[in-house]
Symmetry: C2
């Protein structure tokens, strides 16, 4: 990495930490400049606008999520093993130190769903890709003969995605120590009932 | 209602509309003063702080939710009919004109889960009451002999609550026109599989 890239990475990391605690909308170039010890104008030169900064943070975290959760699951054999790997990685992601203040991708969805613009567009596209991935992984399981062919993969994806949202909510807001067990119990039963 | 109460109701209604679009954190006494045509100091005299304003808006919307969703369901016979009424009312609430920008109670949960304070405490308490209500209504169904006694009501409540979050997410962020059908299909199957 060049010096410029290193600086950029460092700024994005700090911005992500701030967004994780205060929400993406709480990010400001001014506050971030103080955190990374740069002048506001210097930081502005990097990002040009608050919206650009928000977009870059989202791209950065989405790329990290893809590398940590999706990519390793796609290396696991298709069907049930891949679906399980995906869910397992996803759960671990929520517990990892990388997202100390909870998943920015989920929080940002509630923050921006009523604010038309590039940030909402980005979130809409990335969440859509995510549920499509879930549906595709499940469909692979039907093709492998692991899951029943009469189950609608999109419906299955909706229900699994809902459980992840519930898990996030129980963990972050309610502070429920059983959230992980509840999620696991729910998706184990779902997988069991979907078996061919 | 006295004149003062009327003014207060009107202010809270405007504040709620703003929060519904911009998030509870986006509320400011200054902007709200412009919307309701009052001086900032006049509005400040009503609420004293941004946090108080946020709390009053939350109390207001939570009370409305209770009156529209919970109270009518508790008038329906215990067990499966009451559970169905609760879910039906809840779904209708999300579609009602009262929450044009999506449910503030759900959005605020993501906004405030990392900001310790009275607002987070209020949200934590009200969401906890909500999942407890879901579990209690399901437990009533076990006692009535409608549902299987080997199902954990707290787990059932977690799964139903997750589906509501998923429905909110699919409707608000993804703009999926099938969100309601997906929610209904999911909870119909859940109720069916829970039948005694």
């Amino acid at each position: 990495m060049s010096r410029g890239q290193e600086t950029r990475e460092e700024i994005l990391m700090q911005a992500f930490k701030a967004a994780s605690m205060l929400g993406l909308d709480g990010l400001s170039i001014g506050t971030l400049a103080k955190q990374v010890g740069m002048s506001k104008s210097g930081l502005f030169a990097h990002f040009r606008s608050k919206e650009n900064l928000q977009l870059e943070v989202l791209q950065w975290i989405t790329e990290m999520f893809t590398q940590d959760v999706i990519v390793p699951a796609l290396k696991v054999p298709r069907g049930e093993p891949r679906l399980r790997a995906l869910l397992e990685n996803w759960m671990n992601w929520h517990e990892s130190k990388k997202v100390p203040g909870g998943c920015v991708i989920i929080s940002a969805a509630s923050e921006f769903d009523d604010q038309p613009g590039h940030v909402k567009d980005f979130l809409q596209a990335s969440h859509t890709r995510l549920v499509e991935t879930l549906a595709r992984v499940f469909r692979g399981g039907i093709e492998e003969g692991h899951f029943r062919a009469d189950i609608d993969p999109e419906q299955f994806a909706f229900e699994l995605y809902s459980l992840i949202l519930g898990f996030h909510h129980y963990t972050r807001l309610l502070g429920d120590p059983n959230a992980k067990d509840r999620l696991k119990a729910a998706y184990e039963r779902k997988i069991l009932s979907a078996k061919a």
